[in-house]
């Protein structure tokens, strides 16, 4: 269970978000500029909130009142960035292995093989990120975040930088991920068709505030740019 209750002022823009997310996939849904990325950056610890608290299960990750602020590297929260952010000087295999090495987990070939199979990236392991297509890059980014054995996985519009074809390529993997791994996820998106495919719960964010939370019924009519 993730419990978020934070405030952050960025110039004139103010984010004040309060919501809870249990298991499954919680979509953080709202138009561009609603503050969705700011919220998950606070969850992972890259942005420090001005006020409030963040807790994951029984761990307090941040609490302004008591001065708790666990740094990102010790939160064990996987983060799939919108632009992938693979390390250009490392091979795909080294990228995938980075989180495990840095977290000091022992080698686990079985888990590695399972995730490589899940994302269908076995062919790409010895390549450099430069030589990958956008869709391949995003699959590696998902694998890299999963292989650090996160307690929570954050996905920031993982399909936004891809064209329609690559979106169709990635979506089935995300659905498989939801059904086969037990890691709870927060999925940031502004596309309701995408959210409908992947999410189990929805938190609506508008102009920095949570305006509704609940099931998929919160979504409006499917948008016109259907992604199949």
């Amino acid at each position: 269970m993730l419990a978020v209750d934070v405030e952050k002022s960025l110039g004139a823009f103010k984010v004040a978000a309060c919501f809870k997310a249990a298991g499954g996939v919680t979509a953080l849904f709202g138009p561009s500029g609603a503050g969705k990325t700011t919220v998950i950056n606070m969850i992972v610890g890259l942005i420090v909130p001005d006020r409030g608290s963040i807790a994951l299960d029984d761990t307090v990750l941040f609490d302004a009142a008591s001065g708790v602020n666990i740094p990102p590297n010790r939160r064990r929260i996987g983060y799939v960035f919108q632009d992938g952010r693979l390390f250009p000087h490392l091979s795909v295999r080294q990228n995938l292995d980075y989180g495990r090495r840095m977290s000091g987990h022992p080698r686990d070939p079985e888990n590695f093989a399972r995730i490589v199979e899940l994302l269908d990236i076995g062919e790409l392991l010895e390549r450099r990120p430069r030589r990958l297509s956008g869709g391949e890059r995003q699959r590696i980014a998902i694998g890299r975040a999963l292989l650090m054995r996160p307690r929570l996985l954050l996905l920031d519009e993982p399909l936004a930088s891809l064209d329609a074809g690559h979106k169709r390529e990635i979506l089935p993997y995300l659905v498989r991920l939801r059904d086969e791994s037990r890691v709870p996820m927060v999925y940031v998106s502004h596309t309701s068709a995408e959210v409908r495919r992947i999410a189990t719960n929805v938190v609506r964010l508008d102009a920095g505030r949570v305006t509704a939370s609940g099931g998929l019924e919160l979504l409006e009519e499917p948008d016109t740019d259907s992604i199949g």
Partner: protein, 231 residues
């Protein structure tokens, strides 16, 4: 092939030793100062920036004189180091390495700083979410990505050290076998009758060394750059 005399070989060997030691000792400081200037805002940053570049604009003889009064036998730092650590700079090849390192330092810091400024900080954020603390982020992401700049800085410093003359001769004089580098040897040879042939040989050696350093840096930088393009 050039029929170099033993004295000339000594000067070449000394020049190389002094330049390598100067570069090796300057490198950790160059990375640290480059990082501070690229990443941190602090009180006195403009001053530090100025001090780092000072050897580039001061007359070398002034830098040499400042080294003499601070790191010489009776200098404040020199006396302290000699007393407590047994490290002596004055009129030793180590002093030449010190002056060469300081003269090369601004040329080393600049490319390192630029390389650090060019790094996509968001990659460091990504590394921290994957469990890397600040030290490991620096070691596994920042430094490898800045490697072409670090190599360029090291080569610039090395080349400057090879050519250093004014500050070194002021600080540690021109003692054959101890502080007489290629440059100092050429200078000495030009002061004596019939020295021109020997000076000419050393000039050729100096040109060859400088070219070799440039080619090596180009090769290293290309290799480091290639790792980012793939294969």
């Amino acid at each position: 092939m050039l029929n170099l005399s033993p004295e000339e070989w000594t000067a070449i060997e000394l020049s190389l030793r002094i330049s390598i030691v100067a570069t090796a000792f300057a490198l950790p400081f160059g990375i640290a100062i480059g990082w501070l200037l690229a990443r941190k805002d602090f009180w006195g940053k403009t001053l530090l920036d100025g001090i780092v570049y000072l050897p580039l604009v001061l007359p070398p003889v002034v830098t040499g004189y400042l080294l003499l009064i601070s790191f010489g036998r009776r200098g404040l730092i020199g006396a302290f180091l000699a007393e407590y650590f047994g490290i002596v700079f004055s009129f030793r090849w180590t002093g030449a390495a010190l002056s060469c390192g300081i003269m090369g330092f601004p040329l080393m810091v600049r490319p390192i700083r630029l390389a650090l400024e060019a790094i996509d900080r968001r990659l460091e954020d990504a590394a921290s979410t994957l469990g890397a603390g600040r030290f490991w982020v620096f070691l596994t992401i920042t430094l490898p990505l800045a490697l072409p700049g670090v190599i360029a800085g090291a080569v610039m410093c090395f080349a400057r050290a090879l050519g250093e003359f004014g500050a070194t001769i002021t600080f540690v004089s021109n003692i054959p076998g101890e502080t007489q580098t290629i440059s100092a040897a050429i200078y000495t040879l030009l002061q004596v009758p019939d020295g021109e042939a020997a000076a000419g040989r050393l000039v050729l050696v100096a040109i060859a060394l400088a070219l070799a350093a440039l080619i090596a840096s180009e090769w290293f930088a290309r290799r480091a750059g290639m790792r980012f393009q793939g294969e």
